[in-house]
């Protein structure tokens, strides 16, 4: 993509192609471009909308099913609605398992984990991007090397460490093991490198130390990178399943995905309640992404957080 190193500001601008640029489908003829721009591709858009609706059907079906009685879910031909909208299913699902508690647990874990990640990553990234010290590049290579290691490799010894520390069924066991991965350091370092050095050299002449340069110059300029790292770290914590499954078996620290798994085990045949529980579990991150959608495409381009 934009690997010209022109700095974050110029970098973002290149991503903002004006909305009316001619598409790849229609060859632009001299003089014909302007008229073409105005005409929306109706058929293409209609088909795309159909594809989108099909794509969203499972989620729509989840919500619709959560409002039916158990028997009304399985009909041939399928029906969108039951005889009445049973919002009571949600209350009933919450009676079975304390999903509100699970959400608070998960929110706490995700927020704490995200904060620790942001702070420690920013500090390390500054050292790697701006400070000179012996062994810097080899140390950074060690960090980079661990990026490729799948979570599953560390899960087994990590479980023993938690066991030894007596951290099973604690929040710190859910938070700390994943708050120091190399990814945040790597992402922020890459961004810090694109911040023009002239800015901080001026500040240094005025007597600013590293701490001030980081907090007053680099962090504000890098706000988009921090936002992306924050959102994706939060979502990763929120959705995490394998690790909570290993270190948690008590409602006091159960997270949302784990709670849904419990629900599946206990009331798996009561589909209307299961779908209500699924809707509750999926709403927070879905809403987060819909609210932040403006920044997502940019953020993904910025950070290359893809392919998960």
């Amino acid at each position: 993509m934009t690997s010209d190193g022109a700095g974050p500001v110029a970098r973002q601008r290149t991503l903002d192609v004006p909305a009316g640029t001619p598409s790849l489908r229609e060859p632009a003829r001299p003089g014909g471009v302007v008229q073409r721009r105005r005409r929306p591709p109706v058929i293409s858009q209609a088909l795309l909308t159909l594809v989108l609706l099909l794509f969203l059907a499972p989620l729509v079906w989840m919500v619709l099913s959560s409002l039916k009685s158990g028997g009304e879910i399985f009909t041939t031909p399928p029906r969108l609605f039951g005889e009445s909208l049973r919002f009571g299913n949600y209350g009933e699902a919450l009676d079975y398992l304390p999903f509100v508690r699970f959400m608070l647990n998960t929110a706490f874990v995700a927020i704490a984990g995200t904060l620790i990640t942001l702070i420690t990553s920013a500090l390390s990234a500054y050292a790697f991007a701006r400070l000179r010290f012996r062994g810097r590049d080899s140390l950074f290579l060690v960090y980079l090397g661990t990026l490729m290691v799948p979570q599953e490799v560390v899960v087994v010894p990590m479980f023993l460490i938690m066991n030894r520390l007596g951290w099973i069924n604690t929040f710190q066991a859910l938070i700390l093991p994943w708050a120091f991965t190399a990814f945040g350091t790597f992402l922020l370092r890459q961004f810090f490198l694109t911040v023009p050095k002239e800015l901080e050299e001026a500040a240094r002449v005025d007597g600013a130390g590293h701490w001030r340069i980081l907090t007053r110059i680099i962090v504000p300029i890098s706000a988009p990178a921090f936002a992306v790292l924050a959102v994706f770290t939060f979502i990763t914590y929120w959705n995490s399943f394998l690790w909570p499954l290993i270190v948690t078996n008590d409602a006091s620290t159960t997270t949302v995905p784990l709670g849904l798994n419990l629900f599946l085990g206990q009331n798996g045949q009561q589909w209307q309640l299961l779908m209500a529980a699924a809707t509750i579990s999926m709403a927070p991150t879905a809403l987060l992404v819909l609210l932040l959608q403006r920044y997502l495409v940019k953020g993904i381009a910025l950070s290359g957080l893809g392919g998960r």
Binding site: P41, P58, S124, V153, P157, H210, F241, P257, L290, A301
Partner: protein
């Protein structure tokens, strides 16, 4: 820590001008900045990675003393263990189906959602939603679609008069069903990656190609695709890595069944380590997984010279 020893302790804050000649170090500052992250990194990333390698050479129960067994765990995996072979094969099939379909769907839709689509930003983000909702939730919803008399079955019954197969109850259909659910869930990431890359393609280039007489297909393959190749490479590498780690989808949808027809490597790792409590054996599986991922990633990095264009 080893870190502190490796650092030259001088302070360059008194030298505002860009240093020339021999570099001056920021050792003390570097130590202070690195320490908070490095302590956690050593404790929770570096040490467990090494510990996992060591454990793979041990018979390591949860209770009781571990005993060194050399390569016995690996030998068991590759000779006498039938489940591991199945898990390896299932994972390979999953990867071979999932990665190409994911890349084609996300690339196709990214191109389709061209600048002329009204509200393209909303299309993109809606396709992205399942990628950020908990995988457990997505899998539970697909459980309802796949189950006999579920949505797919009743739609098929209504439209064609024939019921759908029992997706999750058939060892033929279960793995493809897991793949389909995974593609639905996961392609949104790559869609956003490709969309961002497409937005950065200067329209003047495709216009120039059009003036030279290139049709839309030619424009895409000769002009746009080479420009997208870094993103395509990057997305393929990451998608491949993550697809080898598939766990939640089969865990929730099928529990690895019927039989072992959807048991994947990570699922077998979980069963070995945390249901049968053979921690050394589970570590050995983890390292086999890691080596596979490393080799395939290395191969892709070596191969990229042939098709990835980094200059614009």
């Amino acid at each position: 820590m080893a870190l502190t020893g490796a650092v030259r302790v001088t302070d360059s804050r008194e030298s505002p001008a860009p240093p020339r000649g021999p570099r001056r170090g920021d050792g003390r500052a570097a130590t202070a900045f690195l320490l908070p992250g490095a302590i956690g990194f050593v404790a929770f990333t570096a040490f467990p990675i090494l510990a996992s390698l060591v454990m793979s050479f041990y018979d390591w129960p949860v209770l009781g003393a571990p005993s060194f067994v050399g390569l016995a765990n690996f030998a068991e995996l590759f000779t006498t263990d039938p489940v591991f072979k199945t898990a390896l094969l299932n994972t390979a099939v999953f990867v071979l189906l999932y990665v190409p379909v994911n890349i084609m769907v996300s690339m196709g839709l990214a191109v389709w959602i061209s600048p002329r689509i009204v509200g393209r930003r909303y299309y993109r983000v809606l396709f992205f939603v399942p990628a950020v909702t908990p995988m457990v939730g997505n899998a539970v919803v697909f459980g309802l679609l796949y189950t006999p008399r579920g949505l797919l079955d009743s739609v098929s019954q209504t439209l064609f008069g024939v019921g759908a197969p029992n997706f999750l109850g058939s060892s033929t259909w279960a793995l493809p069903a897991v793949v389909m659910m995974s593609v639905w869930q996961g392609f949104g990431y790559n869609l956003l990656v490709f969309s961002a890359a497409l937005d950065a393609v200067p329209p003047s280039l495709t216009e120039a190609a059009a003036i030279d007489g290139a049709g839309p297909v030619r424009q895409f393959f000769s002009v746009v695709l080479p420009l997208l190749s870094p993103s395509l490479f990057f997305a393929t590498v990451l998608t491949l890595i993550s697809s080898f780690q598939v766990f939640v989808q089969p865990y929730i949808l099928t529990g690895g069944g019927p039989g072992n027809s959807t048991t994947t490597l990570v699922m077998y790792l979980y069963q070995s380590g945390f249901q049968n409590f053979r921690l050394g054996f589970a570590s050995a599986i983890a390292w086999v997984l890691f080596v596979i991922i490393m080799v395939l990633t290395a191969v892709q990095f070596l191969g990229q010279k042939k098709w990835v264009h980094y200059d614009q």
